[in-house]
Symmetry: D2
Subunit: 287 residues, 4 copies
């Protein structure tokens, strides 16, 4: 059990607030940096100085991802940009740091990083809010019920499998498209129609709702031009996503590209998943 | 097939617009009254004068419900209140009227009303958007995923059954509470935990999310005071709903009471259900 | 709670044995008639004389159904035929009798019969073993998995709904055929393809496995001749079933007609359902 | 498409017969060895001489597994034992051989073996008949319906996941036990209760039906002694299975250990899975 320790939480979205609360409620001290946009009625201090937060803490939790632009810390709830620079890294030495900053790999040998988001277990559990969120988006953006719709899931990894599982109760037909024969076998075994990605062009016209999980532009101008005009594409793949956005806009294809669903839509559950992952690392590594 | 006929659509919400479009696309004439709030880029006329709409039409479609206050026509997309009075009824004579206005029962003998919302078939199909919408609300208002939640459905009629069916894929435990032994048998047969309503007080504390479908105040101050403090009650029962709202607010219980989910959240699907119902009446009655 | 009473159990299949055990374990006396084929290692007496059983008992439980041929008691576990005659009825007077013998309606006014199988609740719960059994039969008789099969359910009442619910996890496509528009609406709402029975001939060729629940010969020679040659029809409708058996045999259509699945395949569960039904009658009627 | 080639099918169970039929129907020649117990009304020759079969064929399909005792070919449909010896291997040279005989590894360098059962895709698809069969066994051996049962799945790999998916529609509670944290995360994400294998002793008493997929004796005397007396353990793990059989018999625990469910219970589907796997190897390797 994480208890009576000092945690510094640097940047990130609302799930870091829920995470801080959870750690705090377990009788730990918590210091935050990067949340100045919030009304400060939190039960733990939000400090202005990142170095002070690091100094006061034994354990530092970096945001997920650490940076979105490669330069600044990912601090959507802060009004100031904070460069993720060498000086911060110097302060991190001797600390237990949860995160995986690929940027300063040259100095990471001196800091022990524990990548809480890398574990297969974390990825599986994090696929749950992503899948639930994708279904909510599907219900939000159409003025139609899911019942009777033909749904296509492109990519059938963790998120695809869990999404198919949840969708299956809504009276929809589900197909999965992939290049990977194991993914296609899973889709078939779980009752989905299977479709090799190379045949996407011939089949794409059948689908009303498409969930994309492949982070590579498979919805090219050609493919998009073969979609139903009322199709709705929900792209939840990490950047660059799976859609040629210019083409989609010219063709008036309805789509959204949503990143970070767990943090945006289910912050408390997402915090719990991070908490469990950090907790497990602390126990297993005797930190 | 409904075709080459003249339809007057009087009042109602967005689903009536989708309904008008569907009827219009099937080569009928359509006249609307009660939609002056909309930008008039519709392909059919929205008139200012209800009597003109009635006169021009052979078939009149009333809104669902006809009135919410017992006095005025239910016209949420109109900026003017229109009394549902004797004069309108006089104009309706000789017309085929789809609706079931309980108000002027004394004159209804002279008008042939066809209650498109009464058919069991309509009620079953309309329970689908209601159930989907309730799930969306559950995902919207919590910062938590559904996974692992204990859900209670009070009342296990059409909506309860369909709701349980959809929810079942989300990794939740589902219980159903009812006074009706047939409803409880259905809940059990479909894999839900069963709970007699008279035992609600003893069990209510187990549940994170409650869906109420019983239009009678079963969530009294006493019951509410025994709920978890983080419970979320989604009341989709028709008026007066199932919650003592004053008590809920004093106890800071999170709840919503949502009426008319099909029209509000899935207008196009809801319109299709009305269309099919009217279509079937026209065929069966040779109208 | 049924306790310290004297029960006579007359005829029936294995579920009556499980029922006797359950009643006996609840501290009641139990006397049986009609089970002479069983090795008598039961903890309660099996008597040779039906009149003795009736005389010793306050409560008499008749089999389900009471008779299969209209003449004899339904005693599949007895080697002797016992006529269900006036003399038995004379003995039943003054007793509390659970059953619904339509035969001697002229004398039933003098006996108070409690029809434990009539309650909607009983029918719903009894549909569960029937549906599970039908799925087992489907897996038994084909050398193929269910995955990917097109299944048709004819009739969509209690059994049809529960069957569709269970089948849905097996990766099959499910269609329902009915004449009843409410049943078709239910099927649609629950995600099945719908098919009016009048169109059966045009569509029947699509299906690999058919579950019939309609007790009337809808699978006529004409319909059967349009089935796939590898179709398997599982007829679970009460007599006469739904299949023209002569035609099926001539056409070499594979089928089974199975009656009384609960008693044959899930005797203990079936007994529990009867027990609960009798228990409820005793409580509600203060017997 | 496999066509106009000569296939020798040596040993195996009924699925090899279905496989032979499928290959034959695709316009290939087929020769069989090891099926002398069958009435020879097959449309292709069953020969007495294994060497003749090999000589006549370009492609040889070995059984699955090749041997059960390490000495003889696995020929359950033959009345004679055939040693899997060096002479056979000498004949196999220059042939395309589908199988993976670990026995004669010293000579395998000279023969090109294609292990059709190794592919992840094959394993996933073969988990489907195994999971369906396990459910059928659960329904077969109890006189009770699945509804309401607490089911435990030990091991949550391919079979465990598919089994949980199918079981979920039966109104049961499903728990998964594993030592592997990824498997536990999958189980949780798919809505199962999770249980670390090290805690099995404390929790085992809760379960009515146990499906074991772990090929190592985890159901020791100690664990078995803590089970419910009415528990039913369905062991589908490969040898040695997961149950201490002596202990189970002494404790009168009801169990079955079933190997080769696909071939035994769903031979035609199992044949199709083998066929697809061989077909794919032929295409990809240009054989």
């Amino acid at each position: 059990m994480v208890t009576k320790r000092k945690f510094g939480i640097i940047g990130g979205d609302f799930r870091q607030i829920h995470l801080a609360e959870k750690i705090f409620r377990n009788n730990n001290e918590v210091f935050l940096f990067g949340f100045d946009k919030l009304n400060n009625d939190l039960p733990f201090p939000v400090l202005d100085n990142i170095y002070e937060v690091i100094e006061k803490s034994e354990y530092i939790i970096l945001p997920l991802p650490e940076t979105r632009d490669g330069i600044h810390l990912n601090c959507p709830l802060s009004s100031i940009g904070t460069e993720f620079n060498q000086k911060i890294f110097n302060f991190l030495k001797e600390k237990v740091v949860f995160g995986n900053p690929k940027k300063f790999t040259e100095c990471t040998e001196k800091i022990k990083f524990y990548d809480y988001a890398k574990a297969e277990e974390f990825q599986i559990m994090n696929a749950v809010p992503t899948a639930e969120g994708a279904i909510k988006i599907a219900m939000d953006e159409k003025s139609e019920t899911l019942l009777g719709k033909n749904c296509l899931i492109t990519g059938f990894g963790r998120i695809g499998k869990i999404l198919a599982n949840r969708l299956s109760a809504f009276g929809v037909d589900i197909a999965a498209a992939s290049r990977n024969s194991d993914e296609l076998a899973w889709a078939k075994a779980l009752g989905c129609k299977c479709l090799h990605l190379k045949n996407l062009a011939h089949e794409i016209n059948d689908y009303h709702i498409i969930f994309n999980t492949i982070p590579s532009v498979i919805f090219t101008k050609d493919i998009l031009s073969k979609c139903q005009k009322n199709v709705f594409i929900i792209d939840i793949a990490s950047n660059p996503g799976g859609i040629d956005k210019n083409a989609a806009e010219k063709l008036k294809i309805k789509y959204v590209h949503v990143l970070g669903i767990p943090g945006k839509m289910f912050a408390r559950s997402a915090a719990k998943i991070i908490y469990n992952s950090i907790q497990k690392i602390i126990e297993e590594e005797n930190l």
